[in-house]
Amino acid sequence: MNVSRRRVMGLGGALAASAGLGGLTGCSSGARSGSAGNPAKGDITVWSWAGPAAEMRALVPKFNKLYPGIEVTVQDIGNPAIWDKITTSMAANGAGLADVLHIGVDYLPAYTDRFPGQLADLSRLGAGKYRTAFADGLWGTVSRDGSRVDALPWEANSGGFYYRADVFEDAGVDADALDTWDDVVEAGLKIKKKTGKYLLGIDKPASQQDSANLFQLLLQLQGTMYFNLDGDIMVSSPEAVRAMTLIKKMNDAGLVNDISGGWNALITSIKSGTAAVLPWPTWFGGVIEDSVPDQAGLWRVRLPPAVRRGGTNAATVNSTHLAISGTSHHQAAAWKFVEFVLTRPQSQVQIYKAKGIAPALMGAYEDPVFHQPSKFFSGQHKGEVFLKALNADSPAFNYTSDYARALKAVTDAQTRVLLRGADPATELRGAADQLAAQTARKVAR
């Protein structure tokens, strides 16, 4: 075939254009509107991931005894895939969106701000009566203006400090005596010297978003986060510099294992017992139990030490929620399911027993399961440890719609600190300035 150069160039241009430009179509705001529908009838779809999806599926038979006319399909979309799926559906004005959506606190404000109207107002379905049923501070997350309700809280995760009791014992360190994170660093030095094990692990090159979890925990223990309640940038605050300096101190002392490579690398590191401490929230206890059942009795848990002497060791570090799509035509039926899962203590107890997912519903904690000794955690009353944190005063955190950008700026800064030994204050100042340029928010200095 004889093809002229002009023709080929024309074709190349078209290819180039279509290659680079396709895929963003339909990304505009404005939602179609759904309807309440029949509260006792309808087919509803639920989007969640892994453990929570399995637990909701397990609740469906009991739900159907009360509501035989509602057929529920729970889909495990996977995490983080679920965020992309929700985003693209919302960007397509709600096309293809499931009726019930499981959404983390880090995404909820972005969805409600960027796609207003794409989540149903649950106050119209009767959510207001549960205003005081959940852990302190969570209602403000799901109902930012106090009247409209975007979702109902599910999990309320407090910061935790899971540790290998046998390793601490071998090193001669009393974990209960650690009052501050400076004490933890000192303990880490002893552990490394006596047992050769790292204190903890961090995904240093930030191959996953979770890499900033410890930094966030240290911020939240000081009552602050990436933004203040006015939405101003706080990533270079004195508290943030102190948190990053602590992490640098641990890293410089050789106490931080690099667990880059995502979830699999993290689980492998737990199985091979490379680190003594896992500073993860409530839900991670269930993961440890599932991952290393043969290590029963070797693990213990406590609330994390304070950052400053006398400071708090209780922080609700994150939460997840169930929302209903604004485009759903079965909102009333979907609400019945959400209500069944989140406001009925028996449902939350069943989920806790199976996966250790901590409920935000405070009434659920009256069940004995939260007050029983845990065989895996050396006979500790693990449920009570976290309940104490939930009952403590917890400041509200404003994640804002720019949380994802803030997280990116912070993880990049942390990577430079951990891999290149960069100065925390300088890097965080740079991150704050970058964030300000990207979002037009003010930096609180």
Binding site: R5, S18, L21, S28, S29, P205, A206, S207, T268, K408
Partner: protein, 309 residues
């Protein structure tokens, strides 16, 4: 379709029955359009419309959930965005280093696969082409496991021969090298097959003539093979350039663009802005700049490598 197309002259239609000759002619003229219409419609809906709408989107910014017209602000923002320049630099580095290395390897591989001395040629050709049919995500995940610094097979093998842990994906420079290696593994065989196809069209007489003139292997390669391969080299260069500028899957899966943005490409940055930050206007502006870049580089390559005659 019942229209007869083999007759050179249509038989006159009976009065009052069937189409008249003029109508039949019209039907014949319309027939190709009818065949082309579905493809044209699909192209318009799934290509032209997105291209046009992306440009419209690039002129808007979301303010409090409302798309607000901001003119060319998103394009101006690109020039002030250090992460965009980082992504551009990283993509350019891959283009300038990995692509030439890969094409040189592909050329050598094509010549080797074409050699009369090679036995079991089909197996070798299949072997080198197989990476191309591997799913992008699947091979990205496999390489991320293989190259894991602590638990990966590659470092385990290296440690067995006395070489210490290589931070394949955790050090900025090594992450770039790893990305280059992975891309080379995936696309070398594909380019080699294109070059091989062209190589087989070069007449053997030219090599005989070169041999009679006293040309050795290198001179034959330089004066016969390379000029003969020129159209295929142009094609593979342009395709590799377009592919590299759009590169997304490999850095996204292997490193997420890290560490410290060392493997952040324009494609990954575009994705982050659209689907992580929900900044569709800005992402569209990046897409348009990317398309212009691809167009300009394609044009330059045709000018430099194209047939001068």
């Amino acid at each position: 379709m019942t229209t007869t197309v083999t007759k050179t002259r249509p038989a006159p239609a009976p009065q009052g029955k069937g189409p008249r000759p003029r109508s039949r002619l019209t039907a014949r003229r319309l027939a190709p359009y009818a065949f082309v219409f579905p493809a044209a419609l699909l192209f318009a809906v799934f290509k032209l419309y997105p291209i046009g709408w992306s440009f419209v989107l690039s002129l808007f910014k979301s303010v409090d959930g409302v798309d607000t017209y901001v003119g060319f602000d998103n394009y101006g923002r690109l020039f002030r965005d250090p992460l965009f320049w980082t992504a551009l630099k990283n993509t350019g580095t891959i283009l300038l280093i990995q692509v030439p290395v890969m094409l040189a390897l592909s050329t050598g591989l094509a010549v080797a696969l074409n050699s009369a001395f090679l036995r079991a040629r089909a197996i070798f050709r299949l072997g080198f082409f197989l990476p191309m049919v591997t799913g992008l995500v699947a091979y990205g995940v496999i390489f991320s496991v293989l190259l894991n610094q602590q638990y990966g097979l590659v470092n385990w093998l290296l440690s067995n021969v006395g070489i210490g842990e290589v931070p394949w994906l955790t050090d900025p420079l090594w992450a770039q090298i790893s990305l280059g290696l992975v891309l080379t593994w995936h696309y070398t065989g594909y380019n080699a097959v294109i070059l091989l196809a062209r190589l087989q069209t070069i007449p053997g007489e030219l090599y005989d003539a070169a041999s009679v003139d006293g040309a050795g292997a290198w001179k034959s390669f330089r004066h016969v093979t390379l000029p003969g391969l020129r159209p295929a080299i142009l094609l593979t260069t342009v395709l590799s350039t377009i592919g590299t500028l759009q590169i997304f899957d490999e850095p996204f899966i292997l490193t997420g663009g890290g560490p410290d943005n060392a493997t952040l490409t324009i494609g990954v940055y575009l994705y982050q802005n659209a689907f992580t930050y929900f900044d569709f206007g800005y992402a569209s502006a990046i897409a348009y700049v990317l398309a212009v870049l691809i167009g300009v580089l394609g044009l330059i390559q045709f000018r430099v490598l194209g047939d001068k005659s």
